[in-house]
Amino acid sequence: MLWLIPALPLAAVLLNLLVGGRLGRKGVGWLACGAVGLAFLVALRAVLRLAALPEAQRTVTDTVYTWMRVGDFSADVSFLLDPLSAVMALVVTGVGFLIHVYSTGYMAHDASYRRFFLYLNLFMFAMLTLVMADNFLLMFVGWEGVGLCSYLLIGFWYTRPSAAEAGKKAFIVNRIGDVGFILGMLILFAWGGSLNYARLFAVAPHVFAVGSTVITTATLLLFLGATGKSAQLPLYTWLPDAMEGPTPVSALIHAATMVTAGVYMVARTHVLFQLAPVSLQTVAWIGAATAVFAASIGLAQNDIKRVLAYSTVSQLGYMFMACGVGAFTAGIFHLMTHAFFKALLFLGAGSVIHALSDEQDLRRMGGLAPRLPWTHATMLVATLAIAGIPPFAGFFSKDEILSSAFASGNTAVWILGLAGVVMTAFYMFRLYILAFRGQPRLSHEAEHHLHESPPSMIVPLAVLAALSVLGGLVGPPMQEGGHAFARWLAPVFAGGEHAAAAHHAVPMAVEWGLIALSVVVALAGIGLAFRVYLQDPGAATRLRERLSGLHRTLLHKYWVDELYDATAVRFVHGTARSFWRFWDTKVVDGAVNGVGYVFEGFSAVLRLFQTGFVGTYALFFTLGVAALFLHLLRH
């Protein structure tokens, strides 16, 4: 019955298409939320039953039918529930349900209410297919499916040219990654003979030598797909622009679920990545570099959603960093806690934007704490969680990543991670202070309409806040035999976690030291933010002036978009134009028409002989006879 989990949202899509017009707003909202809520319950039941099984047997598959079979190639529509996909399915349906409920409030006044929930449910279907597929090809269905929904939802307000542009950009950048995914699949099938996880992972150690070119190429190509979907260097540029979409979309797709698909994929294929040390190194480095790079851009952004977008890119970097040093459990752990607190941050930001009549600029906010008490309280919880302050959820997962990085011996990556922590704490508290503390800087219009959000939006915020506080407790550090979350995932990552094993080899004192260090670093970032943005009103301006070059670079996001436009986009466009204008019109078609002209030319010459005058013909006749005589006379 596993197929029921993705099928429920799909059924809601079809029902919405067929009878949605007659259901009215309320009915559409109930249908959409109900389907996802039900999917959550079904998933929960399945997971509980999975947990009841002995540890070694915690893999359930459900084959629906054979999708395609040609020669020795075959791929099934088949779903898999194991501890890893169980975590993903619960996070996706659980957080997804809360965001659906929130959307009924947030989108209440939108003209295209029905279309919104249609896309949102379609997304749930695709995302659940992605995480529950038992083979690469079906995962790819979900993989491109979520990309499509992302495209549709970013461009949801399609009359805005910037939204349409952002949607297209997201799809095309993701497609570049997807080509990597496809080519990776081709290699895996050509050598491994199957795209089914279980079969492929079983033969992988025998077919691929450790560190061989083949497996390194294959995993790097898969990782290229992950950098597209999960917005890592160099394919991250679409995610900040994706903020053009409605805020619940940013929370669901561009923070909690879809963008984590790349992390999930790397964790899912950890068997392959562990055969390719170079690929794992690459993952770690790209992750660490992205974590710092995106965090630095986040320092200077003024749009509340863009700060959060760069923060998401940065946090995803941490997840990849974890995978790269072999700590897949830590990566998935952070994926889960991040889903809670980042969804909360976006929904909170949405609540702020909603309250301020669509104001997104941090410079025109401030002093909102007393006016939006619920939003403020929940946002504060999420901000503390992402900054890594104990005992909030983010602390546990981030700490685990950092100590794994340290334990793996990759000190440079660890230092980058630590640098990211201080930046994260700083930009998040900058956001918090600019929005909720200090003097109000609202426009008159916004001030007038200022109101706390309706219960449909506040309740999801409260639930996510609770999860952001408690979610980390499943994975406290320094547990004998690993913490509860690690033990749950152990059957999936069994035997694979070199780094995690090394992690436990780190002495207790060092471990405490690492924890203290990361907390101190986070507190330093927070303190700095309070100092600059709250206590000393002129400090921010002075800092900006003193570092004007750096500030401009960060504000313009290192001009990476401009660089891509000037090189890749212009190159493709220019080539296309010259292919058409010159090659196609002049050369290829010119040759075709040229053949025509040659024949026309011949006939034009030959036509001269066909004058129609008897005199001319008589002349040719006489000349011919004379020539014949001459010829005969010479012999």
């Binding site: 040609v70 499509l148 349409a164 799809f171 080509v179 496809i182 493709v572």
Partner: protein, 417 residues
């Protein structure tokens, strides 16, 4: 279609008979007759009901295709006399020709004669320039048939005739055909990207898609063949639907220029939604028909020669570029031309036309196995024939893959090598 309805439908039916005959003939002479006969109604359809440059387009279409077919006729006659001297039986029966041993040098010439005729029809780069002209000038119904069925006569010709009849020549020329197919995929997509005219954009996208078909064929393995056939079918559905969709707005606005549209989603939500689905099928989104063929072709190509798959995969990115950019300019943004605000959405009749196409798009994408199963025996036979005949008279034949060599040698077989 309002003027000269009677003649229009008569010609349309004649065209359909010609095409059905072409696909059903297992006798080379009969095949040739249908192949040529089908030109006449198409020529008249473009010439009489077409757009402004219809005469140029019709003549170009006719002469270009004709030039190719004449070579094929010569090759057919050659085969006939070869058969007669070899066995003493005077027949054009295809099965008899399948059993005929042909010297490699002769094979090369005969294959080329067939291949040029088929390549023009496909159309393969660089024989494609008649296609945009014919598409742009043809009436909507003509464009649909042209794209959906007529082009497939070329690829079908390769599968049914050129490859199994002349296996060694086919193997020998594989690198060249694959090269042209790859150029077609990338070149067609790039040229498509910068077209200002919707019909031309779709026409060039056909060049790109048919490149995938040809690449799958020359991969000469089960996945490549099946993928190629699926790609032919799904290209017929999705590109046919695209031409119908362009026809819908052309009927309303009498223009096909992308610049004349913009923001159409607002006045035409149903139309835009259908367009979206068809576009996604055209760019090969998994779950739609386009993906099955494209993926199998890539799989087959990769096993034959990894570089082919790598190059062809760029077509996956480029197709998203040209289609999405077009969709953005036509459907999204504010309505830029006031006359577009009053456009009427699809009528019940029009919706009825698209319904079966949408069903096919998802059916072939979600459950392709019934389609694959039905074509499997015929494709297996072609592959077996190809291998048997290639082995039958190998002496002196050049080794397979005389062109660019595989960068990596694959341990899992399944190719022609």
């Amino acid at each position: 279609m309002s003027k000269r309805t009677r003649e229009f439908y008569a010609l349309l039916l004649a065209l359909e008979s010609g095409m059905i005959g072409t696909f059903l003939s297992l006798d080379l002479l009969l095949f040739y007759v249908f192949w040529e006969a089908m030109l006449i109604p198409m020529y008249l359809l473009i010439g009489a009901w077409g757009g402004e440059r219809r005469i140029y387009a019709a003549v170009k279409f006719f002469l270009y295709t004709m030039a190719g077919s004449v070579l094929m006729l010569v090759a057919i006659l050659w085969l006939y006399f070869l058969q007669k001297t070899h066995t003493g039986v005077a027949t054009f029966d295809l099965d008899a020709f399948y059993a005929l041993p042909i010297a490699p040098a002769t094979q090369l010439w005969l294959f080329l004669a067939f291949a040029v005729a088929f390549a023009i029809k496909v159309p393969m780069f660089p024989f494609h320039t008649w296609l945009p002209d014919a598409h742009v000038e043809a009436p909507t119904a003509g464009s649909v048939i042209l794209a959906a069925v007529l082009l497939k006569m070329g690829t079908y010709g390769f599968v049914r005739f050129a490859i199994p009849l002349f296996p060694q020549a086919a193997t020998q020329l594989t690198p060249w055909i694959a090269g042209l197919a790859l150029v077609g995929i990338i070149y067609g997509a790039l040229v498509s990207m910068v077209q200002p005219d919707l019909k031309k954009l779709v026409a060039y996208s056909s060049v790109s898609h048919l490149g995938f078909c040809m690449l799958g064929l020359v991969a000469m393995n089960p996945q490549g063949f099946a993928g190629s056939m699926m790609q032919m079918l799904s290209h017929g559905v999705s590109t046919g639907a695209l031409f119908l969709l362009v026809g819908v707005v052309y009927e309303r606005r009498h223009t096909r220029l992308i610049a004349d549209f913009g923001g159409l989603w607002k006045p035409l939500p149903v139309y835009a939604s259908i367009f979206l689905v068809v576009m996604l099928s055209s760019i090969g989104l998994p779950g739609t028909n386009g993906f099955v063929g494209e993926f199998l072709v890539l799989l087959g190509a990769f096993r034959a020669q990894p570089v082919w798959a790598v190059l062809a995969a760029t077509g996956v990115i480029l197709s998203a570029c040209y289609m999405l950019w077009m969709f953005q300019r036509v459907m999204f943004g504010p309505v830029t031309h006031p006359e577009n605000e009053k456009l009427v959405d699809l009528s019940f009749r029009e919706r009825l036309v698209f319904a079966p196409l949408l069903v096919l798009i998802f059916w072939m994408g979600v459950m392709p196995q019934p389609f694959l199963d039905r074509m499997q025996p015929a494709l297996d036979r072609v592959i077996t024939l190809h291998h048997e005949r290639a082995a039958f008279s190998v002496a002196g034949a050049p080794a397979a893959g005389a062109g660019p060599r595989a960068i990596i040698t694959l341990p899992v077989g399944g190719g022609a090598r």
